[in-house]
Symmetry: C2
Subunit: 247 residues, 2 copies
């Protein structure tokens, strides 16, 4: 299963000026695509911090997605930071420059051209949008921070990340978490390929704990599900049968 | 200004089973308290990952807040991970054990006692709740992942983090970001103590870019604000005068 990390870049998120939307969106997208999201890091517009964080994520995971810091102003340092991370200079891409000039025409301001400045050797990844590609360095896909643009650009290229989804089942239990810990341990021991999550909730009327069972092997998830339901017996309030996740 | 990092621990966040609420809440709280939030990391229930991440945050920042992984089930490994990070054994705290036994009485299940297991030498931090303290190791405050509990426990101890808030002003501009980049650069050059953010928006009716000016020195923020408004002149749609942030 391919893995992924996300870097959310921008003072505005950490200081609460804007509510984070892009990681929240990508969580659902990656799940539906069958990509295993392992880490989200939210950091300021700081060149050194971005460079170190992106390089670390790039080494750990198959795909890295960055959000933010790619506009034309002084606080947009993501491109320079990612270039630094991969020891490349930032160069003005002739084809992109041409498109920026064509787009703005006589209204062009010099800083607008900065969006044509990318790390040397970066790949331009095209979806249906043949005008504005996603810039990709190694396994790092560089996306804009403004939420509608972020979503549009990711959706445009997402098919390349699609793989087999996981199977998930849920069991809603009317018992305290401590009272079912032994039962969960028994299922964990019997089915190592199934990841079991236990989530107490205090404001639900009909259950106290939601248990999730997830795995790539639909048969093993079904077996673990059956074992757990049998063990918990009449403490089970309701279930959601094994089915593909995130679809 | 004290700095802070947040570690959000739990497969359920990264896989989208639950929407993240605790970092979102803490962003606003820390801002209102005058604490500079520098990094949020969201990671799975993985002992090694939690240990390394928490230790890293602890070394970088004045305060670290963790959310999640402190219940009685197999996937709750935060306490063990933080103990490992600081090279301490996990010990059963006699006073906490007594309270757990008193609370559950005859209904006690053995796994419930795990909430009395904490890293050796951990500090018990009390607010108004004299029954259930927040466990703190070095500068790491360990909070539960269930959102109502997380909020209640943080609010209970938050006064100890309070400091002077920053001053913030906002300028809403009817011009493209590229067209005002030079003006922003000029203000950045003249007022090094003021942090300037530039946020393009494409779905607002009356402005194209929101510019924020922030700093500890209210006088310098006011001077930077005046300079920017003067330079942008009739491109300014409206402003929010310098005032304490997050209040």
């Amino acid at each position: 299963m391919p893995t992924a990390g996300i870097a959310i870049i921008g003072d505005e998120i950490l200081s609460g000026k804007f509510v984070e939307e892009n990681a929240a969106f990508l969580i659902g997208e990656l799940r539906a695509l069958g990509v295993d999201l392992r880490r989200i890091v939210m950091i300021p517009d700081d060149l050194e911090d971005i460079a170190a964080t992106v390089l670390d994520l790039s080494a750990r995971f198959d795909y890295v997605f960055t959000s933010g810091g790619v506009g034309p102003t002084h606080d947009d340092v993501t491109i320079a930071a990612i270039a630094k991370a991969f020891a490349k200079p930032v160069v003005r891409h002739p084809e992109l420059e041409q498109r920026v000039r064509a787009y703005w025409g006589a209204k062009l301001d010099e800083p607008n051209l900065r969006v044509a400045d990318i790390p040397e050797g970066a790949e331009l990844v095209y979806g249906k949008d043949q005008m504005w590609p996603v810039v990709c360095v190694a396994n790092v896909f560089i996306l804009p921070g403004v939420p509608p643009l972020f979503r549009r650009k990711f959706v445009d290229i997402r098919d390349r990340f699609r793989t087999e989804p996981v199977t998930i089942a849920r069991v809603y239990v009317n018992a305290d978490e401590g009272a079912i810990a032994d039962d969960l341990d028994a299922v964990v021991a019997a089915h190592g390929g199934v990841k079991i999550g236990s989530y107490p909730r205090f404001s639900e009327k009909d259950f106290k704990v939601m248990v999730t069972l997830e795995g790539r092997d639909a048969g093993e998830v079904a077996a673990a599900f059956a074992l757990l339901v049998e063990r918990l017996s009449d403490r089970v309030v309701r279930t959601e049968q094994p089915a593909p996740a995130g679809a």
